[in-house]
Symmetry: C2
């Protein structure tokens, strides 16, 4: 006996599983990964992993089991629909060793929608066959319920639909994000490495990244980012770093979230 999955109310860690041969074969450029990265960031949720795999029943089941075990919420994208390569719901059932059944609410919705086109009904009813622990999450702004199976949200891959469903579903667990400072310096990574380590030793909670630029004509050679959930700690770490660097090497410092940029 499997009971209905409990509602997900608190999410601190999340991963994303992108399902679809079309993505790996380059027929379609993934748009859902960047959306989830941006949403996780503004929600203050730590995104642990994004994985893109083929439409393969066993492969999906294996990835779902592995990834769901590591995070509060696993989101899947793709493989939910009426065609032969839509395998995500059976794979999630297999991942958790559950049976599939025809969910009565979904059957009723689909039957009503296709009442005037009965020849299509059996095909679309595939979307009503779900793992037995499935909870249907329905909120304003959603076009169709999100399938929740244990700690997995199963979403369709079509970007317009994924975006609407994901944003509506993730509104349930938004948290505050960490603050960020970005330094642009004329130094190479080799020249700053010891300084970054010294700052990190004094401020272990601060997350520091360094990103060199090559082969482009920029005023800086390396971008350094500092992030922390506590603004005063972030300011002290920034001051510690800028004090260590030659003043002329600092091209500029920008506060707040940097926009998504190509390297």
């Amino acid at each position: 006996m499997v009971s209905i999955s409990p509602e997900i109310t608190s999410v601190r860690t999340m991963s994303l599983l992108l399902i679809g041969a079309e993505l790996l074969r380059g027929k379609i450029t993934d748009a859902n990964g960047p959306l989830v990265i941006e949403e996780a960031r503004s929600a203050g949720v730590a995104l642990r992993e994004i994985t893109m795999i083929d439409d393969d029943l066993l492969g999906i089941a294996t990835s779902v089991r592995r990834m769901a075990a590591d995070v509060d919420l696993l989101v899947t994208s793709g493989g939910v629909g009426p065609t032969h390569d839509d395998l995500t719901l059976p794979a999630v059932a297999q991942a958790f060793d559950e049976d599939l059944y025809e969910h009565p609410d979904l059957r009723d919705r689909i039957s009503a929608y296709y009442a005037s086109r009965p020849e299509q009904l059996s095909v679309w009813l595939r979307m009503a066959r779900v793992p037995v622990s499935t909870r249907l999450v329905m909120d304003e702004g959603m076009l169709w319920p999100v399938y929740q199976v244990r700690n997995v949200y199963v979403l369709p891959g079509v970007p317009e639909i994924f975006r609407r469903q994901f944003v509506a579903a993730s509104n349930r667990f938004h948290r505050s994000a960490s603050d960020m400072q970005t330094l642009y310096v004329t130094l190479s990574e080799g020249e700053i490495a010891e300084h970054l380590e010294a700052v990190l030793a004094s401020y272990p909670s601060v997350e520091i990244g360094s990103y060199p630029v090559f082969g482009r004509n920029t005023s800086f050679r390396t971008r350094i980012t500092l992030e922390d959930a506590d603004p005063p700690t972030l300011e002290r770490a920034l001051a510690a770093l800028t004090t260590r660097l030659p003043p002329a090497s600092i091209v500029r410092v920008t506060r707040g979230k940097a926009p998504l940029v190509e390297w």
Copy 2:
């Protein structure tokens, strides 16, 4: 005793591991995944998985071990450099239970390059510490050797460098790609599902995908792709499908590789 990894000459399956908190936190938009997708496609190599993870020693080691076991070649991107978050080489060593050592060729190259800046030498020499089975792959067009550890190519994440290194390294195993046909139809996925399945039943080698468009003003509702390595088989499958569909429902058919498009 571990011997040097044998040269990789034939690659039919490949996966990509993208390493870096900056990608998952949205500080940088990944550019290396799309490049590998495009290159794998034109090389006729089956791309099995792309996974993006944090800079975490154990996490990288676990992913490398898991992913390398499934394919002919695993490519890693990122975490190779002189800073505190550059953990890929130690993680690959851990994945294969190997020790690290200072590679004499790399030590000599780095020492020569930084002869005039000895204060930076110790930092950059981190890039000479490699797993003991490491083979250095060096070809025209490469800026620095690619580290090959068993069936893993370890590449830096900076896109300009990754691109040069990956393209040079992958020239070694190019194969011919499969042919593709794309149909644009006015029908929904529900209306075409049975036809796709019938064609698939007759032509099991053909890879068929269907991609509906929603919420946009297009002349078609669904894009269908057919792919096969054998052109005559592809033509027969295409004819079988177009015969089954109402002629007026076919907006257009395009032959050859479709360009990378947003859905």
